[in-house]
């Protein structure tokens, strides 16, 4: 089943997918446009992986890491499907990153690889934007690059783990204004999902609602105000986001 969260009629609702439409718990079906998408989970700790696809590491002129390169994100940066993301006026290189997002469903500490998939609730899609102008070589990628408000769209659907038996062989793709710019497969991850769960849970407790953004393959491109970015993971969902400039972002209503 696919689960979502929306804001509708003055309240937050948990919804499910019904033949491509959005179904409220009481059975009402909604049209796109009648509601606003929220991230499909209220996130706990959000982990993100850097350089977790060998082709992407090469693209950035890094050799693949020997241990997972993990960084963290705060709730301020998470936003929903069909949201707008700001490109600051002084940015010269802002790129998307299409990622498979793993949502944790059970508490886990010292979880062995063989048991790791048992604590996964499901999967969704993330777009982990970066603005490279702000990169500095301290705790890199630093929070000014990766933890900006509304710079990490997530959703729209959370697919139950049971419905996606092989998350390690899914196509990822990004389209900018309809043109495909990034293609890859989760089969090319350096550290796969069980390895990441074993690693993280070896020193910290994972909790329901924690999210692991598993990294992105090669195919980065600069995005400009007005661009519509679609990040899609096969059999999960397609996440849409629009880039806006400062004038639009800060425009008085």
């Amino acid at each position: 089943m696919k689960h979502g969260r929306i804001s509708y009629n003055g309240a937050v609702h948990q919804v499910t997918e019904d033949s491509g439409r959005v179904r409220l718990a009481d059975g009402r079906l909604l049209q796109e446009g009648d509601f606003q998408w929220l991230p499909p989970v209220e996130v706990g700790t959000v982990f993100a992986l850097g350089l977790n696809y060998a082709d992407h590491a090469r693209e950035l002129a890094f050799k693949a890491p020997e241990v997972p390169l993990v960084f963290l994100k705060g709730p301020n940066t998470i936003t929903g499907h069909n949201a707008k993301t700001r490109r600051p006026a002084d940015a010269t290189y802002m790129h998307y990153e299409c990622e498979l997002a793993v949502v944790i469903g059970k508490t886990g500490k010292n979880v062995a690889k063989a048991d790791a998939m048992d604590i996964v609730a499901g999967y969704t899609v993330a777009n982990d934007y970066a603005i490279r102008d702000y990169l500095e070589n301290y705790y890199r990628p630093n929070l000014r690059v990766k933890n900006r408000d509304a710079c990490t769209p997530l959703g729209p659907w959370l697919v139950d783990a049971a419905d996606l038996p092989n998350p390690g062989a899914l196509k990822l793709s990004t389209r900018v204004n309809g043109k495909t710019t990034q293609e890859g497969t989760t089969a090319d991850m350096i550290f796969d999902i069980p390895t990441l769960i074993e690693y993280l849970s070896s020193f910290m407790t994972l909790n329901p609602g924690d999210v692991i953004l598993t990294g992105t393959p090669e195919g980065l491109a600069d995005v400009k105000p007005g661009d519509v970015i679609e990040t899609e993971v096969e059999n999960i969902c397609c996440l849409v986001n629009t880039i806006v400039d400062d004038q639009t972002w800060f425009a008085p209503v």
């Binding site: 390169l69 960084f71 705060g74 070589n137 705790y139 890199r140 929070l143 408000d149 070896s202």
Partner: protein
């Protein structure tokens, strides 16, 4: 209003005091290739939160033998803070917490130190106390009863108001979030079995014991 213990997201900053900047030395060479321009933040996630009681024990990750104990204070945000001007910033602060930011020793600040800084229980925190001018505070760290560090908070490169202004330029801090004002580069280390006490006049104290990791 604010809970007795903050419930939001905890962020911290490095290289925000004169002693640390002096200690780390030249930043011109690789990997840093220049001093940082913006505040360099890290995040202490929910699993690190540890409300300190007299009997609190912090278990290190497996194989770790020592831990850096960085005494600091956190600004507890009282209302949503975004794009603040420094002269208005402190109006968004509801209070202070005393914090012991624990890290496995790491000399390099190049890559995010998640294993080193985010293990369970690595952030003993006090209850929220009233806001005071932190330039007048001295943080005292005792390990096994001996004072190992006295840290005055009068040498911050970005004092609280400026730090809030610079950080909120790119991210919103919400009510209940905490911004730690800085940790010493290579803070004093405590070993397994040590008892630690952090204190500052007016902010009370934190006590905890360091223990070894529990195997799976």
């Amino acid at each position: 209003m604010i809970n007795a213990f903050p419930r939001g997201t905890v962020y911290g900053v490095i290289l925000n005091d004169a002693v640390s900047v002096h200690r780390i030395g030249s930043l011109e060479e690789a990997p840093y290739k220049g001093a940082p321009q913006a505040p360099v933040l890290y995040l202490k996630p929910a699993n690190t939160r540890c409300a300190c009681a007299a009997t609190t024990t912090v278990n290190l990750p497996p194989a770790a033998k020592t831990v850096e104990v960085a005494a600091t204070v956190g600004l507890v945000i009282g209302c949503a803070a975004a794009r603040l001007q420094a002269d208005q910033a402190l109006a968004h602060v509801a209070g202070l917490v005393l914090a012991a930011d624990l890290s496995l020793p790491h000399a390099s600040y190049y890559r995010p130190a998640i294993r080193e800084k985010c293990f369970d229980g690595s952030l003993p925190l006090s209850e929220v106390k009233p806001l005071v001018d932190i330039a007048g505070l001295i943080l005292v760290t005792e390990i096994d009863g001996a004072v190992v560090d006295r840290r005055p908070l009068d040498d911050l490169i970005r004092p609280p108001a400026q730090l809030l202004a610079d950080v909120s330029e790119w991210m919103t801090l919400n009510a209940g979030d905490v911004l730690l004002v800085g940790v010493r580069y290579q803070a004093p280390q405590a070993g397994i079995g040590s008892t630690v006490r952090i204190s500052a006049e007016g902010l009370g104290s934190l006590h905890f014991t360091i223990a070894e990791g529990v195997a799976a």
